[in-house]
Symmetry: D3
Subunit: 225 residues, 6 copies
């Protein structure tokens, strides 16, 4: 499936009304005749709000907190799905088998998370693996991998290329529902085991995907090593 592109869009992109999403939609529409597209969306602020409400209701089980986050990510994916009719598979795919099946008769498949205990980043890597692609285009909150946490260290330097194993050491993951960092350790492990490149792009600049498709590196490139 050479013509299949797998894109992960951070939930942050859905936090600012439709302005930013409409740019994604425009971009995806322009690509739909040339590529088949799988779009994995995150949960963003709505997920955080619902998870926070759930905690206030006394829910401490990570299973349920994760599941609520997954449902929000699926809700976000519906904005993509409905915007790309009649090309898009008409519901959020909820298993990898469904992704493969949907892809055989649709140009676009949008989806959120799949299973509690797993970030949407890991899900995205598994999708790349399942469809036999080689790269994940990852529209992330930050856009670059850094040599240190840029939130703490103002002098942190962006890494244009970095090995996944090194990045694992740099990142300190937190595993609370709805608070996964840039990209989690497990996602990087999965990328390494299946030799999948991750192209980071700032979520604020969806159009840079076209640069990436031309062979440029508009963010950071994470090598599966």
């Amino acid at each position: 499936m050479r013509d299949v592109l797998v894109l992960k869009i951070t939930g942050k992109a859905f936090d600012e009304g439709s302005t930013l999403i409409s740019r994604y939609v425009k971009l995806l529409k322009s690509m739909v005749s040339e590529y088949r597209l799988i779009v994995i969306t995150g949960g963003g602020n709505t997920a955080r709000k619902y998870i926070s409400d759930a905690r206030s209701l006394g829910i401490s089980s990570n299973y349920w907190l994760d599941l609520i986050g997954i449902w929000v990510s699926r809700l976000n994916s519906l904005l993509i799905t409905s915007s790309l009719q009649p090309y898009a598979y008409p519901k959020p795919a909820v298993s990898l088998e469904e992704v493969l099946e949907a892809l055989s008769s649709h140009r676009v498949v949008a989806m959120g998370g799949l299973i509690p205990g797993q970030s949407t980043a890991s899900t995205a890597i598994e999708v790349v693996e399942a469809v036999g692609a080689e790269k994940l285009y990852y529209f992330s909150a930050v856009g670059y991998a850094y040599d240190r946490d840029p939130a703490k260290y103002p002098d942190a330097k962006p890494l244009r290329e970095v090995n996944a194993s090194l990045l694992k050491k740099i990142l300190e993951q937190k595993q609370l529902p709805g608070e996964y960092a840039l990209i989690d350790e497990k996602a990087l492990d999965l990328a390494i085991r299946s030799k999948i490149l991750v192209q980071l792009i700032s979520y604020r600049e969806p159009e840079k995907l076209l640069d990436a498709l031309r062979g440029e590196n508009p963010g950071s490139l994470i090598h599966p090593a």
Copy 2:
């Protein structure tokens, strides 16, 4: 199924963080050993926000706008479901058959809307019909039926009891996704055809359900006539 209670909670109840919902949860928990409970939740502000975002993305199809609203209502139902573990059926029921099946082995079934083109109020009436109950307990934004639109006429008078056919004439329904009024015409028609009573209760006072179960009328009672 004499011991089955069907409750509809307006999406507004989910608009104010967890304070109000936690009162519903506490109430439902106290009832779960005595009754089997079906809880239909609306979409509220989150639905309105997502539908508004969808419109901004150029989506004009009522099918998709309704579907997005339905997914939000299901998301809201998950707060009920996760709060009432291990008694609650572990996912939002998405068909009437699933409601019946789930009810045979769970004390609580929570759900949102079922199908585009139908309000969650209509869905709730159909659930009452399907489980063979006689009454819908409807936690609505207003709490009472009025002889005139109380938003326009400050001197509108609450009707403690009213026939559904009269209420239909009073209400002027609008059919835009996410903007169904107090209770829509179709829901009233369904109530009439299946002789289902609708007990309105203000969504701000969930505990008044206990009054209703004691035979009182803590809001308005809509007769199927």
Copy 3:
């Protein structure tokens, strides 16, 4: 989906053995290379017989009576499905999502009703809405809308064009399972909200669909206003 036609065939068409249905089948076969077709079938006499038997068994719940009618309408749709192999989706679609999904890889999707409490006419309008079409071709028992009930008033006049809101006033709907009239109020409401034209054609003259596709009006045209 400009090439998608949505057709509703009254259950009456299935009441007279295969003579009439074979004309529908021939017509649909001739169109299958040019159009994608969604066919919604009613229940007809068989539905009425089963519902009547159910009543005699003491079943008074409209949920169950409706459901039995829906199963008969699905059974009728199987005659269309099996006649249009290998073009037709191999089972009756039972949700709007399934219609959309089936349509992406089949030329024909046949189906009956979807949910108790809703006529197959309403279902048909929702299908039109879901696939983004603009018109429903409705093969009805009567073929025309009239200014008065033609069964009661011999001098009732057919209306070649009529607004849905006016037609609502003319028709007096009954809501008993299996006895929906020409087209029910709810279906008209759904047509209005989504700006869907309804082209009535006599169920005895399926071939007139071709006239309608040429821009003629071989029955009555109901405007969504």
Copy 4:
């Protein structure tokens, strides 16, 4: 599952309006607190009519003809299902796994055929096998096995007890959809391999099931040998 009874009711029982079925319903209701019941229904005249219509439409594939017959048998099962609410699993079971699952939380499971190419008699034997029961109560058109075809030979004698292997030789099976004879060869083979007794009872006398449960033989008993 000692308390599970598996009953097969010939489609003929559904051919005479509700009079006869109401006796079955009354019987089943009286047993529901003591036994868990699985009821497999045949298609009867309605199946024959639909299959005949399908042939007239030019459908010659036994797959489709059988499937249409199966859908009618499921429709018939819905009369049982709806009459035995809230005890009955709310839809026709369509696989053996579904039967087992449904049985764990319902007192009654009603169903029709499962798969083209297989009679409802064979289906019934497989159900007995799957639930680990030892006997099938078979309400058949004839009520007895005979030493010769009673339709051809007026002096044919009923066999109160007969081995399945002998009965196979007596019966000359026809394998046209909707026309399976008393009990087909495959069903008898399945009974033999799993050592399942078949108690034949005339479909006109449902109440004789009670005799059978008291240890009597109110028809013919087919031994798995």
Copy 5:
């Protein structure tokens, strides 16, 4: 569906590591642009081992023993499925309806058995019937039908052409799970009723399928008579 080929591969082909299967895979790959392929796989030694273990665990129910065999046959089909990506439907089809649906958007559908009480040979005939094909290509352990059991009679002669009804008499079927013979009686009956030819080919020579497609008879041909 003129271009659809239905192939049955005996489980024995999976008993010798990947050497033999890789020849099947190579063959199927070479045909995938010209034909749509349905591949039904048997269970082989792994099925026999698991069924034997199950018996040792005290499981005597043929339902469960068959089901375990079916799961092994599905596992075998996954080797075909994964080898023929991205052309193959991504999971074992588990019903005839799923086969039909999968075939509309995939070049290859692989599957094992469908239902306890039925051999994979019978399943394969039903698949041929369902897709409207005329012939089953059956890679069997023996490759030829013989006039007597070749295992017992060294002078048994292969029959290049034989009628199914004659073959039924020659074969003495055993009905134990995992031990179905060359082809079982029921499969032959199904072939007769639907006029399906069965082309036997030795499972050790998959490439002879190409001879068969050129009109030759590289094994035995069983006529539906």
Copy 6:
């Protein structure tokens, strides 16, 4: 759900015919009236053989290799399921939602892996999380955690209690399908985040589970810290 026990059985237990498994079955049968049991089985040698065959067929995608391993683990779970009839949910659960649902009406739920990219150990932890239990009983190949790899260092010492975070450092995980070590890093991370204790027990001594239930530690206890 205080009475729910979650057990993970290494695939190795299925490698030695039925001798060992029959001890598990006997144990589980003795517990079924007191506890509800969820049993997660691994793939063992059969998984390794199938994955090896798949590699020989040229399949390099970890998605497909994992999936084949998952299907074998489900096949193993069927031995448990069929041995524990009629108490066990009649099929391998394939999602966490299904586990929760099945548990509401069955005493036993058996299952294998859920999703490619995740070990059955991680799956087991997620199951514990989903059902709200506090401990995983893990019948592992080794039975103890060691301070060093006991396969390399003959003087490695068993650790009766160990923190998960320390164990992570001791273990060097490999991520090839079918070759997950004692317990993988991700499973330990999930255990830590949800405060789940892991009780290791040698897979050769299933009966020691009873010791563990009496409060003893018959292997190693991994603390979620």
